[in-house]
Symmetry: D3
Subunit: 132 residues, 6 copies
């Protein structure tokens, strides 16, 4: 349950509808997922978040699928179930195969393990890694 309930398109202000329209146009879909309908209670946050996402997730030096894999890696590490579900779906839409999903999870698990081995053994950064 969202704290404030969800704002559906038909009930949205023109300001919010404009963002919803841009989300659907950009994503080539007629559907808005609940995250946007929840934060739409704060149109400033809705607008800022969407514009940031749109800029950051666009094709660039990294392709959109790679960006989604990174998004899933952060979301799993943060234990955000909504984010895992939604970005795993997005990654599939952008071409993530089952084999890629499995390797993604293996890397995430491994990284979380070695992060803690480094920390527990109190390993200091090698000088070689400090050279810019």
């Amino acid at each position: 349950m969202a704290t404030f309930g969800l704002i559906e398109y038909k009930d949205a202000s023109p300001e919010v509808r404009a963002i919803y329209d841009d989300i659907m146009a950009t994503r080539k879909t007629d559907w808005i997922n609940d995250f946007w309908k929840a934060i739409a209670h704060d149109p400033a946050t809705l607008k800022r978040t969407w514009e940031d996402i749109k800029q950051i997730m666009a094709p660039g030096a990294l392709d959109p699928l790679t960006k989604e894999l990174i998004y899933v890696a952060v979301s799993v590490t943060n234990n955000c179930h909504y984010c895992i579900a939604s970005h795993t779906a997005s990654a599939k839409n952008k071409g993530m195969t089952d084999a890629m999903f499995k390797e993604l999870q293996a890397v995430i698990g491994m990284a979380n393990e070695t992060n803690k081995l480094v920390t527990g053994y109190q390993v200091e950064i090698d000088d070689r890694f400090k050279t810019p």
Copy 2:
């Protein structure tokens, strides 16, 4: 400072040297970073960790650079400075450009932000994301 100091090649047991040799051969380098020298105090952990890493980070459905980017994303989210320094260096060795680094950081930052907006607004998972 590592809890136990570091085990240099010349002081290592044959068992540990064999792993060091495999690390250098696999990575085509004559250098071992301090993480391995720290966990070498526990040869079982050294062996298991190296074999897991070797298997997981090998080319597969995901290319090695993409795997390093995912490793960095987890390490930043976990705030593991050693891991960030070492895997950022690895990513550069595998072809990460400055432009890719910047986009990687932007995605990591954005994902951490929206992970918390989802959580703070207590958004439930859309049914559409639950369909396998």
Copy 3:
């Protein structure tokens, strides 16, 4: 489901009832939320936790509402759904408006983003911030 089930007032020992009574008196309510009924299985933890909370959350240099906002910020960052739900409710009881809730979430999201940009770019602390 709590690991041990919940200890209701009617089933509680005199020691536990005394804490329940103090919680209700302090909070001017006739209701105990399930957190307390769960940890009541360990009366020492119940007593210590309640006394600490009572001392820490009392009005002081910071007002009680500000303290609740900080509690929510920690709980969102830790991804503790129960804590988010209960302390968001407490904050509302203490005067948090919808506008305040939205700004709170925006700050939490932003802080989580810049925490990671700082970390990923490996920025060192400015000398000026080190001067006491």
Copy 4:
């Protein structure tokens, strides 16, 4: 050490200088802290982050000091040392007294403790907290 070194004002592009100027004007200072000089390598991230921060941290339903306290709470929970140092300094500049600092830390500590007691005892959310 920042991954790329820091971009000083005198070496900055006009685009970056315009942001630096706005930061200094908004904060009524002639000094830029290293976070901005690090992310200035990515002018898009610098611009977006500054504009978001400027919007979010401005006075609103919550006063600027309260927002800094929330920022510190997130940064401590995330263990981001740079962010703790810089936002503790900002909070002092905006009026945080020693007494407020101490209560802030006490609340952060307490919240982190009860977050884990709730989780370890596997307490489910009370129905009463689910009612919007």
Copy 5:
């Protein structure tokens, strides 16, 4: 819901069945919990994870119950509900009493609190703790 559904014994490949058989034999049970049935979609991860767990959780310098308590402590700190439920059950099977459970949770809560007090007060490591 697991992303891929669960692989039951009767539907498993010989490779996966062999791992399932070893899990049941090692644990002296005729039951496989869903974690294994979920990661069985990636037989390499299933095999590696099981072999690592089997090696690490075996009796050694630390007894199996102590290892389960440590597992629960990590899982609570990471807020992993599945892991808390499964390893709390395992700990009970290995002899964890109610009194031990309660003390475990108290230590976990306390450690999370002081971790943040140390961090918020920006305490540096005592020289005495740096001596190997």
Copy 6:
């Protein structure tokens, strides 16, 4: 650097000295580590934290060494370097051998890995684990 500097015994108020004396007497040492000297700026937090620690870490259903191992596990998972250094030292004082240290780190690493595999594969809790 502690935010406020450290309060040495000779400069402490009688209230703070009484706690320092109790810490040294309880621990059978003539030394106070810097954590206590930092939070001594807030005598209420110093007193509350010490009394809680003293109660929680005392011998009970779990022995003091096991409690220190749990403390280290939480501190590594939270990436708190001070806490890792101080509680690793405490654990050694209470009898942790090198072999125990190594197994402790292996379990911590493994738990962090499987916590994320569970999360990434979105595994739901088995009914069998839900039965109290």
